[in-house]
Symmetry: C3
Subunit: 270 residues, 3 copies
């Protein structure tokens, strides 16, 4: 059986060879960093807004899709609902990033409706995962989580079992679960939360890894380690957010499977 | 009585402790730098586009709101008109950045309508402030001001008295007035005008300072000094716009109240 | 007769003196880098979304306009169709960047309709130019070209003759043609394709150069050399994409007409 570090290394190897094309339906703030993080890690980003074009691309060449509800409006909600159904028909796996779900009513309803088409993965902070699982829990403050990621593990496991998706709860420690098995990742650095879009772009990396892995669970393990390790390496030389953002892209570009094998801090939970 | 430098230092201290959550209704070009400048200085940015979600956030946890009309369309104008009324009901102070007002008719009408709900602060270049005050004056060339900031001082004072808002006129010298008292700030560097969004993101810093100050006038004084001092420090080592943009975020992160106390160039006008 | 390097140097000199104001109707992902590349090279960027404001600006002070269909929706398509007609009435030259044309049906129809108002220049990769010329050819994979730029030269020449526009086919070698004369440019570096928006922002540089040149053909020659030379200089010190993006803006700012005279690799095709 493969170790978690082997899984992460193999997913990155496949991603670099396959160069998956990821369709991103994401918020207005993070379009550029999402595309740049995908390019840096080895993927190909595409952003579209027109439902017919989305459907066409899903059938022609998309390998994965991200849906992020950060700046949701009525029109985009409609586009996303159509897109996840089209992705299912085209056999393209999709990832949900339920930004600020539980805090704001409109997006909470939309996310619940989106889940009627099963995603391959759900990525969120503790508050979002707790809210999406329908559990009682602390609401987030804006897009920040008010809860610790460990506190969301039972909700994450329940959400994984309910939806069939791998669930990635991000925080100081990341938790990855498919409802049965759980792995933690302690790579990363606090400064990653002080550059807008690093978390949202992580959803796009999830989609790129899903397109490059045997299972969505393996993809979530790899995503947490890839971004966490690149982030801590960038923070080691660039402790302030402006130069850190550029260094993070450089480190994603430089990251090797061997580095993941050696330095990922992934642990199977008992 | 506090000196202007003391005011600026105290506002930054409060901002760092309070971490105000700022809702930004801003243009398409500057979403990312707006969020990153807020994060760097110590605030929490949120961007939303759906009127109900905006209303909900204003009542739950927003500490300030920015309205910037840079890429205004009919839908966004409607959202902004609703948002400023909801902000007033929720007791959340809002800041108006009337980009290119006076040059383009549609936004000029919208800004005048927005002003029926009094903002805490108005930030603009000389041409915009002159136009918004309803005075005759030089029109701006695109988003650049054709007038010197000093030439806009009488219009700024009249606008402050008419609206009750603090007015911040940006230029080589910044002028801050509440209609009675006026302070100038000479911190800053020309290269700040050669990175897109620095001026627009300043409006978000205004909102973060309003949420952290005793008066909007104090907040405007602090904003001018914070951004100006960070900007001139970044320019000292990075004289070209790409690396300057990253350095500006680093300097906002590094800036201390003590640095403002020592190096802000704020002067009470006679 | 001027050499191609002289042409490039003279266009940059004029651009720096004139500071052309460029109106950009472009996609959601690249708004910021488009504005920043224009500012770095010496232009003045404006982004608008409201048709009346676009019409007003075209008549007041715009020197050129970019139309880029990267994230096209119904509303934006309508705005663009109106804008190109208004640009023609106002005598403002416009540049078409037909992102992913040929791959996606909706934008292909819109681009063909836009061409009923002749653009000054068309910039695309090989697949896009082949598709827009109506020729049989390889479809692009997402926004990447599946065809070599040389393979698109006959289509580019046909498209130039049909539309009257200068055509710039970008790739490892750039081809510039007006249907009669052809010049190649071999400046540039592969890493430019790994930062989102460099290609799209090139369309804005095209518009700034059109506003600063005797002919659109001269403008295309200058654009290819300006961006290619700045890119290869940035890549020489910054081989990874995060720091490269900042260095590219710095090099555009530092680039002199003399550098183009000396180091542009422009060759008249036989």
């Amino acid at each position: 059986m493969k170790t978690p570090n082997q899984i992460a290394a193999e997913v990155l190897t496949t991603l670099r060879n396959k160069r998956p094309l990821i369709l991103n339906l994401t918020n207005n703030v993070v379009q550029s960093i999402t595309a740049n993080m995908l390019l840096a890690v080895g993927g190909v980003p595409v952003m579209l807004t027109h439902s017919e074009e989305i459907r066409d691309l899903l059938h022609i060449c998309a390998n994965g899709m991200l849906v992020n509800v950060g700046t949701l409006n009525e029109q985009q909600a409609h586009t996303m609902k159509t897109a996840v159904r089209d992705a299912a028909k085209a056999g393209v796996p999709w990832v949900l990033d339920p930004v600020a779900v539980g805090l704001l009513k409109f997006r909470t309803e939309v996310c619940n409706e989106l889940l009627s088409t099963p995603p391959a993965m759900i990525r969120g902070n503790a508050s979002e995962i707790i809210a999406l699982a329908g559990a009682q829990g602390a609401l987030c403050r804006g897009v920040e989580s008010a809860a610790d990621s460990a506190a969301a593990l039972p909700a994450a496991q329940a959400l994984a079992r309910k939806t069939g998706a791998a669930v990635l709860v991000t925080g100081e420690t990341d938790y990855i679960t498919d409802g049965a098995r759980t792995i933690t990742c302690t790579n990363g650095h606090e400064i990653m939360t002080r550059v807008t879009g690093v978390g949202c772009a992580m959803g796009a990396l999830c989609a790129a890894c899903v397109a490059s892995a045997d299972t969505a669970f393996d993809a979530a393990v790899a995503t947490a380690a890839i971004l966490g390790l690149a982030g801590e390496r960038a923070a080691a030389t660039c402790p302030h957010p402006g130069t850190f953002a550029a260094a993070l892209l450089d480190e994603l570009d430089k990251l090797t499977p061997q580095a993941l094998q050696n330095d990922a801090r992934l642990t199977e939970a008992p």
